[in-house]
């Protein structure tokens, strides 16, 4: 019992004594009968209990019983212990005292709780205002959370954010000392998503009362961190509410950050798109003009043997440059999301034929045999992307093949996966360079093979094949040379409709 409480009990007891004295004096002077005086004593007990609780009530009850017995119960001026009225009166006074003081205590406790709730609510309100209006960075969040924690009676504690996992904790803000062992507790709260609560360690001298509460920051079923309040006597509800507010604020910070990022991305997308448009126009127009001029040169050089070869060379290289630019633009468009592969059923024979039109010099300079199996399904590909892939593979094969050696183009159903079409380009070149593909013929990732070694063409073919839902492989060919294969999804003919 504190000094203040002791004083209050003593004062109330004195008030009781005075009240009993007044009742006794009044009863004697006015010559009231014993029952009436009994009521007056009861009022004295009531007043003392109201003010001073059980102790003052009991003191007053005993005093009132003694006075009642001595002054008002016959035989007067003696203490008659045998008299049953005496006991009745004492019991009545004591019951009154106990009942009233209990009521008073309950009422006072309720008032105190209500006051605490009010303070907590105020704190939460202030916290929400601070979190959502003033702050715009995670550090400020920690300060706001800290102020709220102090207001909620915590003497130690702070805000911890998880970076991907509850075991990677970033202490945003901390008040007082942070013992290492509580990291486990914080992680536990993060994993189980439930608040943890227990009395403050007895060993911690500075924290002598209250309890330690560990609260997860929950947003959308995910824990993003934890709020720790040590040595607090605030209600769990208030603490949970505070943790929810902080959780929301943390989430909001993240959104603001991500939004800025998305904004930047969108701007770069717009830039990419306009760059692409500019590049495709600005490269295509001069190339078209060069092609036309070269054609004029070729016509003029027809009669002049000395000029024919260099002009043909220019035409050849211009065509190659055009194809490369087409490739790069296709890739850039796909990557920038400007174009999606538009797949449709495409007969492999048509793709081979288009490749022949695109590479007239290759097909004129060496024999090329084409074979498409009778039961080969159509490929479900973006025709123009698939053509680019084939053209790249054929160009590669042409580049490494000895002069006059034949190329073979083959299309058939995939031997293992009936849902795929396999197109192959076979050459009699030097075979697969080391470090390009694994034993199964799958291309190795760029880390071990640089683009220069495998050729830009193969790299482009790989990207475009992936965009078509297909894959590229390269394997040694029996008898020397290479088999480059393109596997793409098949578009089988619908059954039951054939003529």
């Amino acid at each position: 019992m504190s000094l203040g409480q002791l004083r209050s009990v003593v004062v109330s007891s004195l008030v009781g004594v005075v009240a009993v004295a007044v009742a006794t004096l009044g009863g004697r002077v006015l010559d009231l009968n014993s029952s009436t005086v009994g009521f007056a004593f009861l009022i004295s007990v009531l007043v003392a209990s109201l003010r001073g609780g059980l102790v003052a009530g009991t003191v007053t009850s005993i005093l009132a019983t003694l006075c009642y017995n001595f002054f008002f119960l016959p035989p007067l001026h003696t203490f008659t212990i045998q008299e049953p009225s005496n006991w009745m009166a004492l019991v009545a006074f004591l019951v009154t005292s106990v009942t009233v003081s209990r009521l008073v205590i309950a009422a006072r406790r309720q008032a105190e709780t209500a006051e605490q709730r009010r303070r907590e609510l105020e704190t939460l309100y202030d916290l929400s205002i601070e979190l959502f209006t003033a702050t715009n960075r995670v550090g400020a969040l920690g300060e706001a959370a800290g102020r709220a924690l102090s207001l909620l009676g915590a003497r130690e504690g702070g805000l911890v954010l998880f970076e991907g996992s509850p075991y990677r904790q970033n202490v945003v803000w901390w008040l007082g000392e942070k013992p290492d062992e509580i990291e486990e507790l914080i992680a536990g709260v993060g994993r189980h998503k439930e608040p943890l609560e227990f009395p403050t360690f007895a060993g911690a001298e500075k924290i002598s009362r209250g309890r330690d509460v560990y609260l997860p920051l929950l947003v959308g079923g995910k824990t993003t961190g934890a709020l720790v309040a040590r040595g607090t006597d605030a209600s769990l509800k208030a603490l949970v509410s505070a943790s929810r507010l902080v959780g929301l604020a943390v989430e909001r910070e993240k959104f603001i950050e991500e939004n800025a990022h998305v904004q930047a991305l969108r701007e770069s997308e717009t830039l990419k798109t306009s760059l692409l448009r500019a590049i495709s126009h600005d490269l295509t127009t001069p190339l078209t003009a060069i092609t036309l001029h070269t054609e004029a040169l070729r016509r003029m050089a027809e009669s002049d043997g000395e000029w024919r070869a260099p002009v043909a060379g220019i035409a050849n290289e211009t065509a190659r440059l055009r194809r490369r630019i087409d490739n790069l633009l296709s890739m850039a468009r796909l990557e920038a999301g400007k174009a999606r592969p538009r797949r449709e059923p495409t007969p492999p024979a048509d793709l081979f034929r288009a490749a022949r039109e695109n590479l007239p010099l290759v097909f004129e300079s060496r024999p090329v045999t084409i074979h498409v199996d009778d039961d080969c399904p159509d490929a479900n590909v973006d025709p123009s992307l698939a053509l680019e892939i084939l053209v790249n593979l054929i160009e590669n094969a042409h580049r490494v093949s000895p002069q006059g050696a034949a190329l073979e183009l083959v299309a058939r159903q995939h031997p293992l996966d009936l849902q795929q079409v396999r197109m192959e380009v076979l050459d009699r070149g030097p075979g697969v360079p080391a470090g390009i593909a694994d034993a199964e013929g799958n291309l190795l990732a760029g880390a071990t093979t640089d683009v220069a070694q495998r050729g830009l063409g193969l790299e482009i073919a790989r990207s475009l094949a992936a965009a078509n839902g297909g894959s590229i492989g390269i394997a040694p060919r029996q008898g020397g040379g290479t088999v480059a294969r393109l596997d793409v999804p098949a578009a089988p003919l619908p059954v039951g409709e054939s003529a």
Partner: protein, 229 residues
């Protein structure tokens, strides 16, 4: 033919316009030119060319406007010069009434082949016998001969072949093919066309691995590629 066919070239880039004209003249075509759609329309009215070659994206008045305006008054063949990657533009131009397209940067040989095909379609009177290298189609007797042997086609296959061969060189929309061949069955899908086309190609192509007559035209439909003899 005594007079050289006149070709109108419409492109906003002078380098392309001039070199195109030079190449066409070198092949004995007469040319006139314009730098945008409006000018193209004026030149068309004064010179009544036999064929129009037009770019699509031009300042002021673009190729689409020109195609619409031309189609409102004439059946003159129009070939569009489109940029790669703008397939939607290409299809829109065909929808508006263009007859064919070449993709920039194009080879001159390819362009000339397209020009010849379009001019032939309009100058040749409707024949009852279509003759291509190795393939002849007798429209009156509904008889098809390939490599000297009679080819037996189902009525649907024959109708497909007739529609494509009488528009040789012109890309045909799958929808157009459906409308002409399956007049009575509006629920016919592209897959149905694909099945019949596949059967037809197996019958008429001497080497199905290297098609000589019919190829798919990406995102449009089909094209009969053989040149008449």
């Amino acid at each position: 033919m005594t007079l050289a066919p006149v070709i109108l070239v419409v492109d906003d880039d002078p380098a392309i316009r001039e070199s195109l004209e030079r190449e066409l003249r070198a092949r004995a075509y007469a040319t006139v030119s314009a730098s945008d759609g409006q000018e193209g329309l004026r030149v068309f009215e004064t010179h009544t060319p036999d064929l129009v070659l037009t770019d699509l994206s031009m300042p002021r008045s673009d190729g689409f406007e020109l195609i619409s305006a031309l189609r409102a008054k004439a059946r003159t063949p129009i070939i569009v010069l489109s940029v790669r990657g703008s397939d939607a533009d290409k299809i829109r131009a065909l929808d508006l009434g263009a007859d064919d397209f070449v993709t920039k940067p194009f080879s001159v040989a390819e362009l000339l082949a397209r020009v010849r095909a379009q001019l032939r379609r309009t100058t040749t009177p409707a024949a009852t016998l279509l003759t291509f290298e190795g393939l002849s189609i007798d429209l009156g007797r509904r008889r098809v001969v390939q490599g000297g042997r009679d080819i037996r086609l189902t009525p649907t296959e024959y109708a497909l072949l007739e529609v494509l061969a009488s528009n040789a060189g012109k890309p045909m929309f799958t929808d157009t093919i459906i409308a002409r061949v399956w007049r009575e069955a509006p629920s016919t899908t592209a897959d149905t066309v694909r099945v019949h086309m596949s059967a037809l190609r197996k019958k008429i192509e001497p080497d199905p691995s290297s098609p000589r007559y019919i190829v798919t035209e990406p995102w449009v439909g089909y094209r009969f590629i053989a040149e008449p003899v």
